[in-house]
Symmetry: D2
């Protein structure tokens, strides 16, 4: 049976997201303790793919996911899904809100609910957990490790716990983007509303390198939707850039931009082209449609032949 990995344990937002993916429908869902372990399972061929968080509207990109994708054998993003992040305060059945003195959760969840926690539970002590779901699981399995946990409502349900308060995120519109990662293979077909993910390594740390890279995109009318600088782990100030752009590598303008980057960069890792979760069509600037590129190529061919 085909199986898909996700960042576990059971009850995380990753599991919630995986349930929304058509590709994973009717397949086995396997929890892994870290993004790195989930991706390793993909690379070993134990699972067909892994759904991993890549970006959060509050916390920004998930650095460890980017770094795990940037190093090791090449992988490929074939789909994405975005879900709203709704945190709940969860406790053992029968717990009173007033008696909550210690709360455990993952640091990212803590960062997104800190305002509420300090506001409504003055004097509360916050404890770290490996994941939001793990915090709930330990609440269920150990006598009294702490009074409550912050996690997705799904976790309460799975572990027989009780939701004390729902919607405690400081920012109601928080959402997390997950990408479905597989081994390299045939690309998803272009849909007209696609995204392409790349990791770009500057040839040398020369001022203006980023300007050069952005110009390669701009000249071909390719829009960026995300750009992150990440350290290469060699020295402070030595970066690579992780970018998402509108369009599919099969699009002429994206293809030419990628060739330009391949010539300009020290290294470039192609992470895939895939349908956008929001279905928004790529903006096509005048003169940059596939038809424009084909006409230009034909014109050049004639000139080269006949003057």
């Amino acid at each position: 049976m085909t199986s898909y990995a996700y960042l576990g344990p059971r009850g995380t937002f990753a599991e919630t997201a995986l349930r929304l993916l058509p590709a994973a429908d009717g397949c086995e869902h396997v929890a892994f303790a870290s993004v790195g372990l989930a991706l390793a399972a993909v690379r070993r061929g134990e699972v067909a793919g892994a759904l991993v968080p890549i970006e959060n509207s509050i916390e920004g990109s998930v650095p460890s996911t980017l770094d795990d994708l940037a190093s090791g054998d090449q992988l490929q993003i074939i789909d994405e899904v975005t879900i709203p992040v709704r945190f709940a305060l969860i406790a053992r059945p029968g717990t009173e809100l007033a008696s909550v003195k210690t709360v455990a959760t993952h640091p990212h969840a803590e960062a997104q609910t800190r305002g509420w926690l300090y506001g409504f539970l003055p004097g509360v002590t916050l404890l770290p957990a490996l994941s939001t779901a793990a915090a709930v699981q330990r609440l269920a399995e150990e006598p009294q490790p702490y009074d409550a946990a912050v996690a997705a409502p799904l976790a309460a349900e799975l572990y027989g716990m009780q939701v004390l308060v729902e919607g405690i995120a400081d920012n109601d519109d928080a959402s997390t983007r997950f990408v479905l990662v597989s081994n390299p293979g045939p690309l998803p077909s272009p849909t007209g509303a696609d995204k392409t993910t790349l990791f770009l390594y500057i040839r040398e740390d020369h001022p203006g390198a980023l300007l050069e890279i952005l110009t390669e995109f701009a000249v071909r009318g390719v829009n960026l939707t995300r750009i992150e600088s990440r350290p290469t782990k060699r020295a402070l100030g030595d970066y690579y850039f992780s970018v998402d752009v509108e369009g599919h590598v099969a699009d002429e303008r994206v293809g030419e931009a990628l060739m330009g980057l391949q010539r300009v960069c020290a290294d470039i890792r192609f992470l895939g082209s895939y349908a956008r979760h929001d279905g928004k069509n790529s903006h096509v600037r005048i003169g940059t449609s596939d038809e424009n590129f084909r006409a230009a190529r034909e014109w050049l061919g004639q000139i080269r032949q006949d003057g």
Copy 2:
């Protein structure tokens, strides 16, 4: 007595770094449980400044520090210090390496020592802690919460614990940059080897906005040494940019670039100009020295007056 805040508890790398700062010499060093709490103490005027981590050569920028500086009352960076990150495996005196089955540490330290831990301690269980020093402290104060902790050697010394193995970082050259943050006030004098930190908010999410920003710097010959995109916490894909550039706001080229950005950006937060930890002089491109700017201004003045 003047006091300075740092990310505690006692024994963290932040404390190690604070001891290197001339400004804090002979002052009281006060530990805080989070960067946010340390900065709040600065804002309330309880401490003269706070030394907080802003960038790590392995993990990249420290998002929570950036976000705490970006929101709330304006603060100012007045100095920086960079220290090598040397991790040690620390246990109660008398512990044998072979008996270590559970290890606690902060997730960032775990990320930087994971290779060593899984390689030399197969089957080890890793537990999260609020800081590396907190992991050592709990080891000292509770009966047997876990077998060992990963932290700075200083923590072993402070809490009476034993260093089992030194230098267990997967990457020997790792280093962390800390910045000293105070309330806004007179700027440190330019030294010729300065850095300026800014937070830039795009006017609207239009393609090419980042290209525009970089061009404002490039035209005046101002080099970037760090650029980070961070979510504004409003929606996925809505960013602000945190940048460090070479030079002091008192430098003509930096001043004109900042005025250009102020006109182009929706908002801009100036975080300070301060001496670089590495003492490297700013690169001054031909035509961009203070003298060049003054000569140009004088020339313009004459033209405006006499044609």
Copy 3:
């Protein structure tokens, strides 16, 4: 009595244009044999100004005018006027069109009427003259130097000749732009619909120099209305650029752009800021108004003082 120079002899388009200039109203109008001689008279202080052709919609810029302005003592453009160019075929009274076999005119006029001349006077012989008016003058003064001349209708009137055919220009919309040149002095006040003329010398013949120059304008939102490359007369491929831009040097955005160019260029000659003949207001891109520049300068001043 104040006098103004123009490119003579009497009856040229330059004289037609000079009559339209308010500044020259009621003053003496003095004809000179060349643009160079007219400008020399300005430099010697013999005339208050000279009206010289700088650009023609058919022929392009007038290279000799540009070169005469670029070399020698600095001069200043203080006004401009544009007139439609209406050519007529002019002969001695009583001449039949059918008998016209030889026609004299200035080479520029010939270029603009060639189609008509060869079409309606097959087999005609064309002869060069020093100016269109000179061709009519010689027709009037010598026995039979040629059968007809191409010139402005005004010339026929002044020399007692007859217009055989009016409106013989191949392109009906042709127009010529004249500029009024004086010695350097106080600039005309900004009107909101101004133009500034500059000569820019590249620091060295490096690829990308023109791109740099254009970027200095673009960053400050200054639009170009004309750009000409002209040889510096040193070697093939060694150019200077003559440009007109929207706006007055008193405008903040124009002033900052000029200071940038002064730092980037080997040399720069400011030829003046003056009201546009067409009264079109400068386009002011968002963030580039004088008010925006002042606000940015004030903001910078505060930062430099208080952090």
Copy 4:
């Protein structure tokens, strides 16, 4: 017998240049009264090619040549040659220098010798001629049209006249570039030291259009060696750009730049790729060799196929 056209009459610099062209060796050389007539003969197939002046180190580009190439049926530049311009003062045998009161020549030659003429022949009257050689021819054929002519020494020899003074140009290093123009056909093979000539029409008169065009070249590392703005003859301020760039259209970087321009411009006219007269190899920026382009295309092909 194959024949080649040049700008006559006999004795012009154009004839001097044509004698240097290997392609025209042993062929008939036919003089034409204007560049337009010479090009018309090419278009009608009466001559194999025409050698026409395109650029002069003193006067700049030759506007009428550019305009004649820009309009009418497409033509192709297949070679170029540059010759030094050495002017002589030429008179009937036996003439004394002191007796020279009137001098005829072409306006361009006059512009380049004016300093000498006014300096050594004070009070001289200058008369226009259709070409330098025509001035000498008329001197030989008519009784006494004027006292002397300024032309190439070759003209004195051909018409039996005498060189009074040699080397009277105000600038010793003046040179003129001629191009050999034929009907469109197979391109000359790339030599590594080639030039490509283009006429570019802006899509609309939007500010920044020239910046866009230059960026298309810069991104592919293509250097410009000449750029001229020329009026389109529609209205003042409506331009097309005539540019020469380093490299051959068969070069990958030139080809991609041309395709980019074809997509960006309203219209583009390709005038040919041909060996440079000076034999200077094109500068090839890192990452822009043909090999770099081929490697990038192969890399893209693999990505598109296999992810």
